[in-house]
């Protein structure tokens, strides 16, 4: 089946490409209208140029198919964990760190095998293993902190992000994932733009001084509307095409997306670092860019799973059988 057989896949891909083409034109129109200060213009262009690289990295695996998507999400999980481990210094605990990596690799395997039981069993099994592995150094001082850090990293970057990988087992995953990615990323853009124009009251000044209630609420309204508008074509023919579901999912996405952003901001403030890394020029680390995805995956996966199921009509346990 061709990726572009689904009209929404084609539409969103074309829309994203179009957006990348017209964005500089919009910047220039605002510039001519005298609405952009030189600093704002520089900031907007810096973000724009990094999107020119990020968009193909996100788009190509999804369009390439199930396995490519699962592997790309797996790679994102591993690189996000690497960034976190290096920012906290947890990577120096070789064995527990290797255990987190092994747990993430097993999640990728479970998603690739389409083995839901194993995918859902892994969090409790890996967490247990991390708690036990922490004992092996026989250093009770700092034990809880070390183990808690390992579990925090595994759940956030392995389990939460891993839900996007498992999504790829659904027949309809391409339009669903493109819609989610489009909305999550535009949620950030909406929050940024609304914050610039209507932002007065700070949302969480100690955690993320740049965020405002105006930006958050503006993004909430716009993202929910966007998700509901495009979502009716993605979920057409299912119970989720009902407006109440579309609005709920859109609201859930905007809310959890902004929370992911705040969580990583809080981590950075606690560590006293500006960025989690420097792998994306102009953006900082991967986690600085993909933080909003963290909770959107599990939230929408289980919402969709509860009402219509994810990948139920597709072959299961492809490699392990059973």
């Amino acid at each position: 089946m061709n990726a572009f057989d689904h009209p929404v896949t084609l539409g969103i891909t074309a829309g994203i490409v179009l957006l990348l083409v017209i964005t500089p034109v919009i910047f220039e129109i605002f510039q001519c209208a005298g609405r952009l200060t030189p600093e704002l213009r520089r900031e907007l262009y810096a973000r724009y140029f990094s999107w020119l690289i990020l968009v193909p990295i996100m788009l190509v695996p999804i369009l390439a198919g199930r396995l490519a998507t699962i592997l790309a999400i797996g790679m994102l999980s591993l690189l996000a964990y690497r960034e976190f481990a290096r920012a906290t210094g947890f990577f120096r605990n070789r064995l527990p760190s290797a255990m987190v990596v092994a747990g993430i690799v097993l999640l990728i395997f479970a998603a690739a095998d389409h083995w839901y039981g194993f995918f859902m069993a892994l969090p409790s099994l890996t967490v247990s293993a991390l708690v036990i592995v922490g004992l092996l150094t026989d250093q009770p001082k700092g034990y809880i902190q070390r183990v808690a850090l390992a579990i925090f990293a595994y759940v956030l970057f392995g389990v939460c992000l891993g839900h996007f990988g498992y999504f790829a087992n659904d027949r309809n995953f391409q339009p669903i994932m493109l819609l989610i990615l489009l909305c999550v990323e535009l949620n950030d853009v909406f929050a940024f733009c609304c914050g610039k124009f209507f932002g007065r009251r700070k949302l969480a000044p100690n955690t993320s001084p740049g965020k405002t209630w105006g930006g958050a609420l503006g993004a909430f309204v716009l993202t929910t509307a966007l998700f509901a508008g495009v979502g009716q074509f993605v979920f057409a023919g299912t119970v989720l095409a009902a407006p109440v579901h579309l609005i709920t999912m859109g609201a859930l996405l905007s809310f959890t997306g902004q929370l992911g952003d705040l969580v990583i901001s809080s981590v950075k403030r606690d560590l006293g670092v500006k960025d989690m890394g420097a792998s994306i020029p102009g953006h900082g680390g991967l986690l600085d860019r993909f933080d909003s995805l963290l909770f959107v995956g599990p939230a929408l996966f289980h919402y969709i799973g509860y009402f219509v199921g994810v990948g139920l009509d597709q072959p299961m346990r492809i490699w392990t059988g059973g």
Partner: protein, 238 residues
């Protein structure tokens, strides 16, 4: 044993290519595995092809930080020194390698950083800042530096005078410095040779020395260099 303390990697905030060349670089899981595999491979090769023997391992301190200084006559030197270290010390052992030879291009830099775990020393622009960074790290981290204080590979097989740079790292500190003599590396693969020839290689470690009382100035650095040079020379005849 202590409570958990957040301590970001020494190379945090640098781009991937800058990380490879950073003096604060710390190995992650991938480099640890790659470096471990490299050491196992080279150890096997040295033992099979060169009858590699290590004497005086008991002189190595049980815990980092410490410095190993050796004579330098071949690219095999750093390989042999790293391969001779016990596994538990391997991850924190950094050969200090010539930046202009090993870190010029991204490919060689990636090889030197990931497989050799080397840190760059830029010979033409080795400023006091780089030496200070290395010295600070030696005093605060669990690191082992593998150093060749002659500064370049010997063209004759004989030993050149040790440069004062080693003194800048350890003068006035309690960090032990272990002298080592590599016998046979130069004849197996002298500068200019593309492939090594068969021939026995022996590595001898000597008793460590500390320079707590030595002043951290030019005279002190010179004293450290000449003392260690004599220590390494003494191992030649053992």
């Amino acid at each position: 044993m202590s409570d958990w303390e957040y301590k970001p990697a020494g190379d945090l905030g640098l781009s991937p290519t800058q990380q490879l060349r950073s003096l604060g670089r710390e190995a992650g899981l991938v480099s640890v595995l790659a470096h471990g595999a490299w050491c196992a491979l080279t150890n096997g090769y040295l033992r099979t092809a060169h009858g590699f023997r290590v004497r005086g391992l008991e002189h190595l301190p049980t815990e980092p930080p410490f410095v190993v200084v050796a004579n330098h006559g071949s690219h095999l030197d750093a390989v042999a020194l790293a391969a001779a270290l016990p596994g538990r010390l391997r991850d924190c052992a950094f050969p200090i390698a010539a930046g202009d030879t090993f870190f010029e291009t991204p490919v060689t830099a990636a090889f030197a950083a990931i497989f050799l775990n080397a840190l760059p020393m830029w010979r033409k622009k080795a400023g006091s800042h780089a030496m200070e960074t290395l010295r600070n790290r030696l005093e605060s981290d669990r690191v082992i530096y593998l150093l060749f204080p002659e500064g370049t590979r010997s063209r004759t097989g004989g030993m050149a005078e040790f440069r004062a740079g080693i003194g800048m790292l350890v003068a006035g500190t309690a960090v032990p410095v272990v002298p080592a003599f590599l016998d046979g590396c130069h004849s197996a693969m002298p500068p200019g040779a593309r492939c090594p020839k068969f021939g026995r290689i022996t590595l001898r470690f000597g008793a460590p020395r500390k320079f707590c009382e030595t002043t951290n100035d030019r005279a002190g650095w010179r004293e450290v260099a000449s003392t260690l040079e004599a220590d390494v020379q003494a191992l030649r005849g053992d």
